[in-house]
Symmetry: C2
Subunit: 420 residues, 2 copies
Amino acid sequence: MKQNAFYAQSGGVTAVINASACGVIETARKHGNRIGKVYAGRNGIIGALTEDMIDTSKESTRAIAGLRQTPGGAFGSARYKLRGLDENRAEYERLIDVFRAHNIGYFFYNGGGDSMDTAHKVSQIGRKLKFPVTCIGVPKTVDNDLPVTDVCPGFGSVAKYVAVSTKEAALDVASMAKTSTKVFILEVMGRHAGWIAAAAALAGTTPAEAPHIILFPEVPFNKRKFLKRVKECVSKYDYCVIVVSEGARYANGNFLADMGTTDAFGHAQLGGVAPAIASIVRDGLGYKFHYAIADYLQRSARHIASRVDVEQAYAVGKKAVEFALAGKNSVMPIIVRNSDKPYRWSIGEVGLSRVANREKMMPKRFIRGDGFGVTAACRRYLEPLIRGEDYPPYRNGVPNYTTLKSVPVAPRLTTKFVLK
Amino acid sequence: MKQNAFYAQSGGVTAVINASACGVIETARKHGNRIGKVYAGRNGIIGALTEDMIDTSKESTRAIAGLRQTPGGAFGSARYKLRGLDENRAEYERLIDVFRAHNIGYFFYNGGGDSMDTAHKVSQIGRKLKFPVTCIGVPKTVDNDLPVTDVCPGFGSVAKYVAVSTKEAALDVASMAKTSTKVFILEVMGRHAGWIAAAAALAGTTPAEAPHIILFPEVPFNKRKFLKRVKECVSKYDYCVIVVSEGARYANGNFLADMGTTDAFGHAQLGGVAPAIASIVRDGLGYKFHYAIADYLQRSARHIASRVDVEQAYAVGKKAVEFALAGKNSVMPIIVRNSDKPYRWSIGEVGLSRVANREKMMPKRFIRGDGFGVTAACRRYLEPLIRGEDYPPYRNGVPNYTTLKSVPVAPRLTTKFVLK
């Protein structure tokens, strides 16, 4: 019996998460004999809980193809984590009720470690409730902190944005350093893992080139060592470009930018490490500084997406559907690196239980001995991931991103679900 | 008698100031029968004062051509303003001494209003000291605040960057608004004139599309009206994207982001209007917010430069040399708009005294009645300026920007000049 599929986006969106959606939907359409319609959750998993789904079969071939080139989450995403089965069984049962009502036999969940945990649990509960659902994860994080996979779709594009922006800003600072700004600080994302900050290293290849200092969450911040290094750079190169991860912290674990509040997942909410670093530079050395905070710009910058990243994001979406059709369950497609030079990759698989709720830190061997830069091994790892451009089409000077019709699926349940 | 030329960059650099340098040098090379070598000031006018010049004749044709695609100031720029003739005659006389020693008969000064004032004075003092120098200004500001010219090279590219970034970040915010950030703030440059902030309007075409609120320096900030508008947007659209000019200020003239310090030109130094706005939103409405500070990224983003801007930047450089060869003096090429649709432009001229030390504000008719957006007339003005892409070449995933050899010109004066 032909069943429908449910697709949802979860957590912070990326420049290429819609490319994964495109891969899922286009591939499901190709297998119309086995998969019915693809319903997308409006605002992620919340759309399933509240029976608020979008019927993607109403979208044109062209609109779906356009997703490949459109940043953000086309159906809406959500920071909404389903708690443990014991704590909140009702939510999982509700999901199965909705899936049963709409004959949904496939669940494609596009997100990070938290979402893989949810997908895994949905697969378990479906079986228990006698409505088995094939649950396939589709990896996505800008943070590159999912384990097992060589890289996580979304990361390559933010990495490229950060490398390009660092290179460009450094040319600006260098040309003005004689009489103006000597220290430039770029704040980038990365709560626990320094992958994004590390990518800035690709802006240059020699010690004289920016970034001169990278501050990782993995390396405890040492003010004295840091100021010494800034001073050295300004003496040698006339200026100093610093790229700092939002998760940079002191040896006692306190974030440099602690705001004292937490988000829905219980993660500390951060902001303002750049001004914190700027104050340290001003008070310690008196140099004129400037800082930029890339914030959402970095993870939505589809205009400068990595071609490799776009291809991988599409490929994991496509493969997720192929896994489901091959009878696999509770797995996630991963990127496998076959060689560095030339860069060759293929798609492998991993069980969801192995990636759920686990974070991949930067390995020690990727961080330079002094803690302020990356090693050659790290550079070898990062370089292929930002390779190639994949420009979106433009109209009137701005990218012509796709807007969907987003036709809702008619609800079939009489009960309403109230979000906690 | 064939004379050499001196070219210098001044003030904040842009994504396309080197395209103007390219226009000057390539055109001078074409007229090698009348212009000798082009010397460039290292770090702008300081290079002339200290007799620290770069011999551009040592650069290959290919390197000079590469300048067209390279952001920042290839020879170094400076925030160094020559004071009035009465206050500091010595500096002007020194300039003429250096020009005389190196047989420099042409002075091409690439900068904003302050620089046009300097160029104008150099032309006057040269005549008095019996060493007449042909002084031609080459317009450059990201702020678009030079008068007479329809647009200032540098502005179109920052405008495109801001429009594209606003559009992309808005897609991100829109997809997460249900459970996460509801208010996103992008801080952009523009000390006194709101042109850059206005350009964000090109991100969308309907009231539902971002930016929902633009805060201009020209419109006194009214907290009550502002918060009311933010609340309306969140109610109607689920989220609110705000683009704020660094120069936004209260009715009493105080900047929202006053840091209490000034730069070499005596301008107030600003920073942090985005967090100021964020605090106002949090305290007044309690919405979750995020903010980005584009800072130098916006004016160095050659990777997303406007093709029209690149062409105009090159054209004013080229025309500056042609003006000099036509016997004109103390003038600046300007962009003249011949029609909006289709967009047609040509190069005109203006006397330096007419542009020196004058700022062009946004006209009242370009700002919407409620003060939070732009009018149709403004949109008609802005739209052509961000038209077209002009991608730089890439190598290993990052733009392959040109680095010059920067061979110094041997000094000929025995006296050293000490900068004050």
